[in-house]
């Protein structure tokens, strides 16, 4: 692509396409066939693949009249983002990031998508921000309105531009690694997120997986999985039986226990995809004598809040309900389970959302990780590090390390419960790379979006995992990547399946609670690294 203004070009052909042989190499670990992906021919007319040949939005192209309306609403939406009253949640960091970029492009090398793609211009974190900046200049400043190209305001807002910008807002996982490297603190991740917000709140454009089958389903049924309270109760009973069979222990998982110290909020997906993880928390908290409870109220058992990725209204609706449930139970603390974006929402963003006078301030909102370290450190549960005698690495959840700065408890835990077999990925901690599935990427399955995710977004993490275990790749040595986030685990599962890391190198993955429980001496080993479940 020659110039940024090609972005507005009225064509249904992609302005740029990914070549397989330009992607970052996974050699010598994996031999990849150079079978370049092509979307079906009829999709180019039916859908809009005009950014890079990929799309996560299966809606049909609007009429000319509708396009005019979309342009109006889009510009109106930008105005709202720029207004501290209508955008009271994120105006300040958004506006500062829009205004003060010095265009040094330090952010580019920090981005796993840019690097993974083979450094394609269009995926630079600053590229999408720059499109928005030029629109801002052209339409919302006097000099831009008058002088246009003379002041870098040479972009016309067309439907094609808007449509490409929608896709481009979903070529960023909001991991904010770019913000960490930026010398002036520009948050291009936030700009991408605010664009997503504009698209959702002003134009009703959001991926079906995060809106209709995400927050809407969450508010209607109680969970983004569609799980209703009576199903949740049934699942809990099943997990209790399973714990009994597996460990010989009869544990009652506390549900709706009024006045407990803690309400524990798991990611709802865990109950269906990783029920052993729920069991691990139950075993650990029971052994440690933690006075906690789960909730069977609608929403009370699914702690995700997808609004964090794309919509402030949905974010507030879901979040207030979660806090209300904790308040009604009379707990002192809401403890967030192993879910990255839920950490961000409840520990950080809700400080901005709660009204000053709200009684919901009385509930402390905390990460589960310091509590888990406290349990391990105290010695109240007898743990044998030799149970975890296999190479272990840790994948950081961006929201937990970079956004919140919780870096050490998870490492202290792993070191305490393994016999010196822990190794860091490089880079790690606040400098980690995103799993590739953040901000909804792991669950968006529409059209060929998963092809983009798998090929480009998961790529750098795949390489990093292989590099970390490069000296122990032998099939006879089981290895594990530990992650404290459901979304990350979903990505790791995809990585291991698509790139055959389990099949070829016996690399498995696990939650942190699961690894701790594997070391509890008075029950049989909990993890089975010899198998990978679907």
């Amino acid at each position: 692509m020659e110039k940024l203004k090609d972005f507005a070009k009225e064509t249904n052909q992609p302005i740029f396409e990914i070549n397989n042989d330009e992607l970052i190499s996974l050699s010598p670990y994996l031999d990849e066939e150079n079978d370049s992906y092509k979307a079906p021919d009829d999709w180019f007319d039916k859908y809009d693949l005009s950014l890079d040949g990929f799309s996560g939005f299966p809606f049909i192209n609007p009429s000319e009249e509708e396009k005019e309306e979309i342009i109006k609403k889009f510009l109106n939406g930008i105005q709202k983002l720029l207004n501290p009253e209508s955008n009271w949640t994120f105006y300040k960091p958004f506006f500062l990031s829009l205004k003060h970029c010095v265009k040094c492009n330090t952010c580019a090398e920090a981005c796993h998508i840019y690097v993974g793609s083979g450094k394609k211009e269009i995926y630079r974190p600053n590229f999408r921000s720059e499109v928005l900046r030029r629109i801002y200049k052209r339409y919302f400043t006097i000099s831009g309105k008058v002088l246009k190209s003379f002041v870098g305001a040479d972009i016309e807002v067309t439907y094609s531009l808007i449509r490409r910008l929608l896709e481009l807002a979903y070529r960023c996982t909001l991991c904010r690694r770019c913000a960490l490297y930026c010398p002036v603190g520009i948050d291009n991740g936030l700009i991408a997120r605010e664009l997503r917000k504009l698209f959702s709140q002003e134009l009703g454009m959001a991926p079906v997986e995060v809106y209709k089958k995400g927050t809407r389903l969450h508010l209607q049924t109680g969970s983004t999985t569609g799980m209703k309270p009576h199903t949740f109760i049934d699942v809990i009973k099943f997990i209790e039986e399973d714990i009994h069979e597996k460990t010989g222990k009869k544990i009652t998982i506390p549900v709706d226990k009024k006045g407990a110290d803690i309400m524990l909020l798991h990611n709802g997906g865990e109950y269906l995809s990783w029920p052993d993880h729920i069991a691990a928390f139950a075993i650990l908290f029971d052994a440690a004598g933690i006075n906690y409870t789960l909730s069977s109220e609608t929403l009370g058992y699914d702690g995700v809040n997808y609004g964090a990725w794309y919509d402030d209204v949905e974010l507030a609706r879901v979040g207030l309900r979660h806090l209300q449930i904790a308040h009604e139970l009379g707990v002192k603390k809401l403890v967030i389970g192993e879910c990255g974006h839920s950490h961000k929402v409840y520990s950080v963003i809700f400080d901005r959302i709660l009204p000053a006078s709200s009684p919901l301030w009385n509930i402390q909102r905390e990460s589960c990780l310091p509590l888990m370290w406290e349990i391990v450190r105290s010695g109240v549960v007898k743990l044998d590090p030799m149970r975890n005698n296999f190479p272990i690495t840790f994948h950081d959840s961006c929201n937990i390390v970079r956004l919140m700065g919780i870096v050490s408890p998870q490492r202290k835990i792993i070191k305490a419960i393994s016999p010196g077999t822990f190794r860091e990925m490089k880079p790690n901690g606040t400098y980690n790379y995103c799993c590739g599935g953040g901000s909804g990427f792991a669950i968006i399955r529409s059209l060929n979006f998963p092809v983009f995710r798998n090929k480009v977004s998961l790529r750098l993490k795949t390489k990093q995992i292989l590099d970390t275990f490069s000296d122990v790749l032998n099939q006879d040595i089981p290895k594990v990547v530990v992650a404290t986030c459901s979304n990350c685990k979903g990505s790791l599962r995809d990585i291991m399946k698509i790139y055959e890391l389990f099949h070829k190198y016996k690399i498995n993955y696990s939650g942190l609670a699961d690894l701790i429980v594997n070391a509890i001496t008075d029950i049989p080993p909990f993890l089975n690294l010899e198998e990978m479940e679907e």
Binding site: E209, L217, T225, G226, D242, G268, L272, L447, E534
Partner: protein
């Protein structure tokens, strides 16, 4: 949206082949979908599909795989209550492939 042509009717499916309107489902459609994948549905397949449909009737979601395995063991014995057996019947994975033939919606949320 994509469609499959079945008995002169266009049945809407998503990009992963799940039917969009659950009322479109008939046992014949399940057999047809399996045929497209080169699979002939046997009594053993139907034991799984029928369980999935019953569970969905009760809970409006697909069961976690562990529940499927355990219930199969309870109903048909340990030979049928294990993932190896289920993968033998549904090579793309029981959670995906069997649910698709059973006409259940695609799983949602962080699963």
């Amino acid at each position: 949206m994509a469609f499959i042509e079945f008995k002169g009717k266009q049945i809407e499916i998503d990009e992963d082949g799940y039917i969009q309107n659950l009322d479109d489902w008939t046992p014949e459609l399940a057999e047809y979908m399996a045929q497209q994948d080169g699979i002939t549905l046997t009594e053993q397949h139907w034991e799984v599909i029928n369980f999935l449909r019953d569970y969905y009737q009760k809970y409006q979601i697909a069961p976690m795989i562990k529940i499927l395995v355990k219930e199969m063991a309870k109903m048909f014995g340990p030979d049928k209550g294990n993932t190896k057996y289920l993968y033998g019947l549904f090579p793309d994975g029981p959670a995906k492939q069997a649910c698709r033939y059973a006409g259940l919606p695609k799983p949602t949320g962080c699963v």
